[in-house]
C-alpha cells in the first residue's frame, strides 16, 4: 500500500545528535527554528510548457509545468474551467524513489497543493469557459520532484503558484458554423489570491519550520497550513504517525499566519529577479 519511501531511515547515533542539537535550540544546518531555507526560483524556461517554474528550497528542487487544453466541462459546473494537479516523485530525485505510478506520498502532495487552489478558487474558473456546457479550458499542473531534501509541499506550492502566474495560453473563440477558432492571441491566467503553503514539523516538544529530510523523517508529525491574503487559512493537513495537542496546533497556525507576508515577499522578490 506504500511503494515509495518518502522518509529515510536515520541511524540511532545521528538521531541522538539531531535531538541534542535541538535541545540547544539549534538545527543541524544552523538555521533558527522558524527560518526558511534559501529560496531560488526560475520560471518560464521551458518553452513547450504554457507555464513553468523550478523552485529550490535549499537542496530540495521541485519543477511545476502547466499545460492548457480544451475539454468538456463537468455537468455539475457547466460554465467553469477545470484544474487538475498531478505530482510525481521520479527516481531521479532520491535513491529511495522507484519508477511507477504515483504512490500515496505523491498523491497526498498533489491533493494538498490542489486544496490550496480549489475551494478558495485561486484561478478564476469562470474566466476559463469558452462555450457554457460545451467547451472550457483545462489547466494541467504537473509537479515533478527533482531532488528531495524535505518539505516538498512548500516548494511544490510555490512552484505551482509561480507556474500559474506565468501561464500564457492560446485564446480560442467560438464562431458559428466553424466551431472553435484560434484567435492568434495569447491569454494570461489571473490569480485571485496568493496562497502560501507553510509546513512545520513537531519533533518532541520542538516546532520547526521548513524541515530538511532528516528532520522530516524524525518528526512526530508534520502540519501544513495554507495561508492566503487576509490572514485566512485555506487548508490544513496533518501527516505523520504522532499526535499533537490543540495548543501546539494553535501555535503552528498562528506562526503560519505571521510568516505569510515575509514568505510571499520573498517569492515575489525571486520572481522579479529571474524568469
Amino acid at each position: 500500500m506504500d511503494n515509495i519511501k518518502y522518509n529515510v531511515l536515520i541511524p540511532k547515533i545521528r538521531q541522538k545528535f539531531i535531538l541534542n542539537t535541538l535541545k540547544e535550540n539549534k538545527r543541524i544546518d544552523n538555521r533558527s527554528f522558524y527560518e526558511y531555507r534559501a529560496l531560488k526560483i526560475r520560471y518560464g524556461h521551458l518553452p513547450n510548457a504554457d507555464g513553468s517554474a523550478e523552485v529550490s528550497l535549499g537542496n530540495t528542487i521541485v519543477l511545476a509545468g502547466v499545460k492548457v487544453d480544451i475539454t468538456n466541462p463537468f455537468p455539475s459546473e457547466p460554465d467553469k474551467g477545470i484544474i487538475i494537479v498531478n505530482a510525481e516523485f521520479p527516481p531521479v530525485a532520491s535513491p529511495d524513489f522507484e519508477p511507477g505510478p504515483p504512490d500515496e506520498n505523491a498523491i497526498e502532495l498533489a491533493r494538498i497543493v490542489d486544496r490550496g487552489l480549489r475551494k478558495p478558487e485561486i484561478v478564476d474558473l469562470s474566466s476559463l469557459c469558452i462555450v457554457p456546457g460545451q467547451k472550457v479550458y483545462r489547466i494541467w499542473i504537473d509537479i515533478y520532484a527533482l531532488n528531495h531534501d524535505g518539505n516538498m509541499i512548500d516548494a511544490a506550492g510555490i512552484a505551482a503558484v509561480v507556474a500559474l502566474m506565468n501561464t500564457k495560453y492560446k485564446k480560442f473563440t467560438f464562431v458559428q458554423d466553424k466551431g472553435l477558432v484560434d484567435t492568434g492571441e495569447k491569454a494570461q491566467l489571473t490569480l485571485k489570491n496568493f496562497p502560501v503553503y507553510v509546513t512545520h514539523v513537531k519533533i518532541g516538544d520542538h516546532i520547526l519550520l521548513d524541515p530538511v529530510l532528516e528532520e522530516e523523517s524524525l518528526a512526530d508529525c508534520k502540519i501544513t497550513t495554507i495561508v492566503s491574503e487576509g490572514n485566512l487559512i485555506t487548508g490544513i493537513q496533518k501527516s505523520g504517525v504522532g499526535g499533537i495537542s490543540l495548543d501546539e496546533l494553535e501555535k503552528i497556525m498562528q506562526n503560519s499566519i505571521n510568516l505569510y507576508q515575509t514568505i510571499k515577499e520573498n517569492i515575489q522578490k525571486e520572481v522579479s529577479k529571474n524568469g
Binding site: M1, I107, R111, P120, L232, T234, S239, V241, G243, L246
Partner: protein, 237 residues
Amino acid sequence: MSEYKRVDGRAYDEIRPVKAEVRVLKNADGSAIFELGNTKVIAAVYGPRELHSKHMASSYESLVRVRYHMVPFSTKDRKSQPFTRREIEISKVLKEALSASIRRELFPRSTIDIYIEVLNADGSTRVASLNAASLALADAGVFMYDLIAAVSVGKINGQLVVDLNEYEDQNSDSDIPIAFMPSLNKVVLLQMDGTMSLEEIRQALKMAKNAADKIYQVEKDCLKGSLESVLKVYGLL
C-alpha cells in the same frame, strides 16, 4: 451568525444517531460496524501477524497497513474506479492516525492490517472509518494508548456545525475532519479545506472536541457491552 437550518433538523452541535457494534465478522481477529446516520462503515483487523515480504518488516515495531475503500454501490453515482486517488490519500492519513494510537513497539516484525469498507456514504466517511477501525482494533485485543474518537466539523452559511452529512459536505464553505485520543488530549488526524479565520478554526475545534467526547462514550459503552456478553457466555457475569 446566520439563521442556517440543517437539512435534517439537527442542532448545530448534534451528531447523527450512532450505531456501533463489534465482533461482526467471524474470520477477522477484530471487526466493527460504525454508523453515523446513513453513513455505514465496516472495519476488519487481521493481525498482529507475520509479514510475507520480510524486507518491509521492522525489527522494533509493527507495520500498520490500512485500506480505506468504498464499495461500488456506496455512493450516489456508482463508483466505477477500483481505488481512487482520494481513497489512497485517506488510507494514508487513517493509517497515520491509527498508527499513533497503537503500541506498535509491542509487536515487532509483524503487521497489523486494517481493512475498511464504506458500505453507504452520507458524509463524514473518513471519521466514521476511524471510529470503526479503532473499535475493531480493540475487539482484536491490540494494545492501544487510547481509543480514537473522530468527527467532522464544518462551516455552512457562516454557521459552524458538527458531523456533516453528504449534502452539508457538498455545500459547506469549509470542512474539518479531526480525530482525537481523548484521554491523552492528542489530535491524531486533522485536515481542512475551504476558508476560515484562525478564530473560526479555534471554535470549530472546540465543538469537534465536545462531539468527539460523545462518540468516545459510545465506543466505550459498545466495548463494555461486548465484554459483558462474553463474560455471560462463560457464566462470569
